[in-house]
C-alpha cells in the first residue's frame, strides 16, 4: 500500500541517517541552541558519549564530571534505578554532584585500578537491568572497547558516558585525537567568569550609596554569613547596563565553552554557556535538573576556531549561524 509504504521508508531513511537518535529516543539538554544541533533534538539515549576537559582539567576531570552530572540529571530515569560510575581515583564529591543536579544517592561507585577493568565494569553495567546510565573514567580507550560499549549501550538502551582523564601530557596527546565509536564527543573548557550584576537595592532609593551588606544572593558569592567578603578592586566596577549599578565581588557563575567535536548524524558546534545550577533565581526555586542555561553570547564555530577568544561579544541576542 503506497500510503503505508512512504512513512515506513521515511522512518528507514531516518534510522539510517540518525541511527542512535531514533532507537531509544533523546534527552534534551535544556539549552536550545545545543539541542538544535543534536540529531533528534537532544542527546541520544542508549548510546556512548565521550566527554573531556582541556589543559589542566584533562587530568582533574572536574568539567567532564560536572557536564556528565548535568546530562545524567536530565535522563529522568525511574527513581529506583542506579547510575553506575566506574573510576580509578575516588575523588568524586557528593555535594558538588548535587550542585550540578545529580542526586548522589542514586550513584553506585565502582573503584577499579585499571582502564581495562573500568571498561569491563561499564559493560557489565550496560547489560544489567535497573541501571539508568553508566559512567566511566578512563585514560586509554582501545577502539574495540569503545565499539563494544557503543553496541552494548545501543542493544540495552542504556546511556553510557565516557569521561576521559589523562594523567600526563604524553597520554593526553596520544589519546586526544584517536577515533572511537562514541556517538558524540564533547570538549569542555573553562572561560573566565563574568561579574554577577547586583540588582538595584531598595535602600538605594533612600539615598544611601553604600554597597549592600546582604542581598538575596550574598551567600552565593561570599561564603557563609559573618565572614568577610574579599573585594579585589578590579571587580568593583560599574557596568553599562542601566538597571544595574554594581557588580558583585568574587567569583561569578561557571562559564564554559562547550565544543561538540563529533556527532554522529549531526554537525559539530561550539557554544558558550553559563551554569546556574539549582539555585534561587527570580524568586522561585529552579528545577534542580535545569543546570545548563545558555549564556547571552553565542559563538559560531566556523567564525571562531577552537582556542580563539569567543568572549568578546556581549549582546543579548542569540546569533546562530550554522554551517553543515
Amino acid at each position: 500500500m503506497p500510503h503505508d509504504l512512504l512513512p515506513m521508508l521515511r522512518e528507514q531513511v531516518r534510522r539510517i541517517e540518525h541511527p542512535t537518535a531514533t532507537t531509544h529516543g533523546v534527552v534534551p539538554l535544556g539549552v536550545a541552541a545545543i539541542d538544535r544541533a543534536l540529531p533528534g533534538g537532544g542527546l541520544a539515549r542508549g548510546a556512548l558519549h565521550e566527554i573531556f576537559g582541556t589543559a589542566g582539567d584533562e587530568e582533574d576531570g572536574a568539567l567532564a564530571a560536572a557536564f556528565a552530572a548535568g546530562m545524567l540529571a536530565r535522563l529522568a530515569a525511574p527513581a529506583d534505578t542506579i547510575v553506575l560510575w566506574c573510576l580509578a581515583r575516588p575523588d568524586l564529591y557528593g555535594p558538588g554532584l548535587a550542585a550540578h543536579g545529580l542526586d548522589p544517592a542514586r550513584l553506585v561507585l565502582v573503584r577499579a585500578p585499571r582502564d581495562a577493568e573500568i571498561l569491563w565494569a561499564m559493560e557489565e553495567g550496560l547489560r544489567s537491568r535497573g541501571v539508568a546510565a553508566v559512567v566511566g573514567e578512563v585514560g586509554t580507550l582501545p577502539d574495540v572497547a569503545s565499539r563494544r560499549l557503543q553496541l552494548a549501550a545501543e542493544r540495552f538502551g542504556v546511556t553510557a558516558l565516557l569521561l576521559r582523564r589523562w594523567f600526563n601530557g604524553g597520554q593526553a596527546a596520544r589519546e586526544r585525537n584517536l577515533p572511537n565509536a562514541a556517538a558524540t564527543r564533547w570538549r569542555i573548557a573553562t572561560l573566565p567568569s563574568r561579574p554577577i550584576p547586583i540588582p538595584p537595592f531598595p535602600s538605594r532609593s533612600m539615598g544611601f550609596p553604600m554597597p549592600p551588606l546582604r542581598h538575596p544572593r550574598a551567600s552565593e558569592g561570599r561564603g557563609v554569613a559573618g565572614t568577610a567578603a574579599v573585594a579585589l578592586g578590579s571587580r568593583w566596577r560599574a557596568v553599562e547596563d542601566g538597571l544595574v549599578s554594581q557588580v558583585e565581588p568574587g567569583v561569578g557563575h561557571p562559564h564554559w565553552r562547550v565544543e561538540l567535536l563529533r556527532c554522529r548524524g549531526g554537525a559539530a558546534g561550539c557554544w558558550e554557556v553559563e551554569v546556574r545550577g539549582g539555585k534561587v533565581r527570580e524568586g522561585k526555586v529552579a528545577d534542580a535538573a535545569d543546570i545548563v542555561s545558555l549564556a547571552a553570547t553565542m559563538a559560531d564555530r566556523s567564525q571562531a576556531p577552537v582556542g580563539s577568544n569567543v568572549l568578546a561579544s556581549d549582546t543579548g541576542s542569540e546569533r546562530i549561524r550554522r554551517t553543515g
Binding site: 560536572a66 575516588p90 554532584l97 544517592a105 573503584r111 573553562t190 552565593e220 565572614t227 574579599v230
Partner: protein, 535 residues
C-alpha cells in the same frame, strides 16, 4: 577417629617400599632419624635413633633430610581433603588427622564403609594409614597408635572403650614422656592399672594431666575439636562415581549445588552472604572458590553465575570426585517470589539480572569495599560530609540521613567542589595581607594566577571528636567501610588547625578550593592546600 600415617617421602624420588629408608634431622649437632619406612623399621631402626648407629645396623640405609614445614603443609592439605567426610577435620600433631564423624557416618552407610573408603583412597594416594573410630578423641588416638600393628582399621563399640583401653601402655593417654616414665616407674604400666587408682592421689603425684587425659579417653570429660577451617552454617555436597574434569561438567555440577543450597535456604528463610565451593581432587588436594554477596541471596541462578565465573581458576587435576558448597554466613531473607519475569529491578530486589546481581559481580571482581555508595553526613568538615559506604552495608535509615546534606548550591550553603582530593594537596602560595587569598599559587608544578576569589569560609576542627579530624571506622558508623575519611595531609600538617577556605578562579577560568591551615597570628608558619576543584 584418628589416623596414623607412616611418614615417608612422596614423589618421583621415593625409593622402593622394600629398601630401608629414613629421613634425617639435625638436632643440636647430632643427626637423628626423623622417620623410617616399614623396611627400615623391620631392620630395627626407629625414630630418634642417631644416624651413626642406624648406619652401623643397616649400612644400605637410604636417607634424605627431613622437611617438617613441607610435611606439615602436606598434612594440612590432607586434613582439608578429609573434609569430604566431615566438615570437622584438623591435623593432629605431626602424624595424624582428627575427624569428627558424629552425624556424618550415615552418609556413607555406616562407620565401617566410611573407614573402608578412607583407607582405600589413602592407599591409592600411597599413604599408609591406620584408622580408629571410637567414642572419644582420646580413645581413638590411643587405638590408632598403640594397638597391634596388623589391623589397619579398628572400630570400637561405644561400650567397649574401657576394656579396649585397659591393656594399652600409659603413653597412649597422650601424656608427655616424663609423666609416662614416672607412672611406669611406680608400676603403673597399663591404662587399666589407673582405673582403680584414686584420682586425687594421681593428681597429687603426677599432676592433673593424668586424670584429665584418662577421663577424656574414657569419654567422661568432653573434648571439643577445633576444626581446621571455619565451620560452615550450611553445606551441600555432590559426589561423583567417576571423577570429572570437563569444565562443562563442573559448571553443571555447580548449578546443581546452587539449586540444592537455594532450596535449603528458602526453607529456612535465609540468604547466603559468604560461601565457598570446594573441589576435592582425586589426588587429595582441595581447590576452593570463595565469594561474598552484597546482599543476602538465595537465587540459584545468581549464585551459580557468580561461582561459574570463577570456574576457570580451578585446576581439576586428574579429576574432581567431590564438590562441597558451604555457606559460612547467612542472613535472614524474607520469602518472596523469585525469578518472576516482571520482578522489580530495584536495588533491594534479589531477582536475577538486576542491580543486586550486578553489584555482586562487581564486588567479587574488585572486592566489596570497592563498590560503594555516597552518603551524606552531618559534618562541617568537607571530607566527612560525603563518605563512601560499601554497598554490602545496609543503607542508612531515612532518620539518620539528612537529605539537605546534598543540597550543595541552594543559596543557603557555600558552593562545594565536584572533585575533592584526599588528602588535600599542599601548594606554594603567595599572598599580601594576612586575610587575603593567594594572588598566585603553584600546584603540581604549574603556576596559577588568581583572578578573583571568594571567602574566607572558616571551618574549624570538630573539637567534640577525640581525634579532631579523622573518622574512626566503627565509631558512629558501625562496620561501615569509610574510604577517604582519613585526611592524611591535614592530620600530619595540622590536625586541629582552623581552615580558611577560599574559592579562587585563575586566568583560564579554572576554579580551585584552597584553604589555609592555621591562623595568621598564631606564630606558626601558614600552609596552603588545594582541597578540590570546581567545574
Amino acid at each position: 577417629m584418628s589416623l596414623r600415617q607412616t611418614p615417608g617421602r612422596k614423589g618421583s624420588a621415593a625409593p622402593a617400599e622394600t629398601a630401608p629408608f629414613a629421613t634425617v634431622t639435625d638436632a643440636g649437632g647430632q643427626r637423628l632419624l626423623a622417620a623410617v619406612n616399614p623396611a627400615a623399621a623391620a631392620a630395627g631402626l626407629a625414630p630418634d635413633m642417631p644416624l651413626a648407629d642406624a648406619l652401623s645396623f643397616v649400612p644400605a640405609l637410604a636417607t634424605a633430610a627431613a622437611e617438617p614445614a613441607k610435611d606439615a603443609a602436606a598434612l594440612r592439605r590432607l586434613a582439608e581433603w578429609c573434609g569430604r567426610y566431615s566438615p570437622w577435620t584438623a591435623p593432629d600433631a605431626t602424624d595424624g588427622i582428627k575427624i569428627e564423624i558424629t552425624g556424618c557416618a550415615h552418609l556413607w552407610g555406616g562407620e565401617e564403609p566410611l573407614a573402608a573408603d578412607l583407607i582405600a583412597r589413602l592407599t591409592r594416594q600411597g599413604i599408609a594409614a591406620r584408622i580408629a573410630i571410637a567414642e572419644s578423641l582420646g580413645a581413638a588416638w590411643a587405638c590408632a597408635r598403640f594397638t597391634e600393628p596388623g589391623a589397619r582399621m579398628l572400630i570400637l563399640p561405644s561400650a567397649a572403650t574401657r576394656i579396649a583401653l585397659a591393656p594399652l601402655p600409659v603413653a597412649a593417654l597422650r601424656l608427655d614422656p616424663a609423666t609416662a616414665q614416672g607412672l611406669r616407674r611406680v608400676g603403673l604400666k597399663r591404662i587399666g592399672d589407673l582405673y582403680a587408682m584414686p584420682r586425687d592421689a594421681l593428681a597429687r603425684r603426677f599432676g592433673v594431666a593424668v586424670a584429665q587425659r584418662l577421663d577424656q579417653a574414657l569419654g567422661d570429660l568432653p573434648e571439643p575439636l577445633s576444626p581446621l577451617s571455619e565451620t560452615p552454617a550450611r553445606r551441600v555436597r555432590l559426589s561423583f562415581a567417576e571423577p570429572i574434569a570437563d569444565p562443562a561438567d563442573l559448571a553443571l555440577a555447580t548449578e546443581r549445588l546452587a539449586d540444592d543450597l537455594a532450596t535449603r535456604l528458602a526453607r529456612e528463610g535465609a540468604g547466603a552472604r559468604r560461601l565457598a565451593l570446594d573441589f576435592h581432587r582425586v589426588e587429595g588436594r582441595v581447590e576452593r572458590i570463595a565469594l561474598g554477596t552484597a546482599r543476602p541471596s538465595r537465587d540459584p541462578h545468581h549464585l551459580a553465575a557468580l561461582l561459574k565465573e570463577r570456574l576457570d581458576t580451578i585446576d581439576p587435576g586428574l579429576g574432581v570426585e567431590d564438590m562441597i558448597l558451604a555457606v559460612f554466613a547467612i542472613d535472614p531473607l524474607r520469602p518472596e517470589q523469585l525469578g518472576f519475569a516482571g520482578a522489580s529491578p530495584s536495588a533491594g530486589s534479589t531477582g536475577g539480572g538486576g542491580v543486586a546481581t550486578l553489584l555482586d559481580r562487581l564486588g567479587n571482581r574488585f572486592g566489596l569495599a570497592a563498590v560503594s555508595r555516597l552518603e551524606a553526613r552531618e559534618s562541617h568538615l568537607p571530607e566527612r560530609a560525603s563518605i563512601k559506604v560499601s554497598v554490602s552495608e545496609p543503607a542508612a535509615s531515612p532518620v539518620s540521613r539528612r537529605d539537605q546534606g546534598w543540597r550543595g548550591n541552594d543559596g543557603a550553603k557555600p558552593p562545594r567542589p565536584i572533585r575533592l582530593f584526599e588528602p588535600p594537596e599542599p601548594i606554594e602560595a603567595a599572598w599580601l595581607l594576612p586575610d587575603d587569598p593567594p594572588f598566585r599559587f603553584t600546584w603540581r608544578r604549574r603556576a596559577h594566577r588568581v583572578r578573583c576569589a571568594d571567602g574566607p569560609e572558616r571551618i574549624a576542627a570538630e573539637w567534640w571528636r577525640p581525634d579532631g579530624s579523622a573518622v574512626t571506622p566503627g565509631k558512629g558508623l558501625p562496620h561501615a567501610h569509610v574510604e577517604g575519611a582519613n585526611v592524611e595531609g591535614a592530620n600530619v600538617e595540622g590536625a586541629n588547625a582552623i581552615r580558611d577556605y577560599y574559592r579562587v578562579e585563575d586566568d583560564e577560568g579554572r576554579r580551585f578550593w584552597l584553604f589555609r591551615a592555621g591562623l595568621p597570628d598564631d606564630g606558626q608558619p601558614l600552609r596552603w592546600f588545594v582541597h578540590g576543584v570546581f567545574a
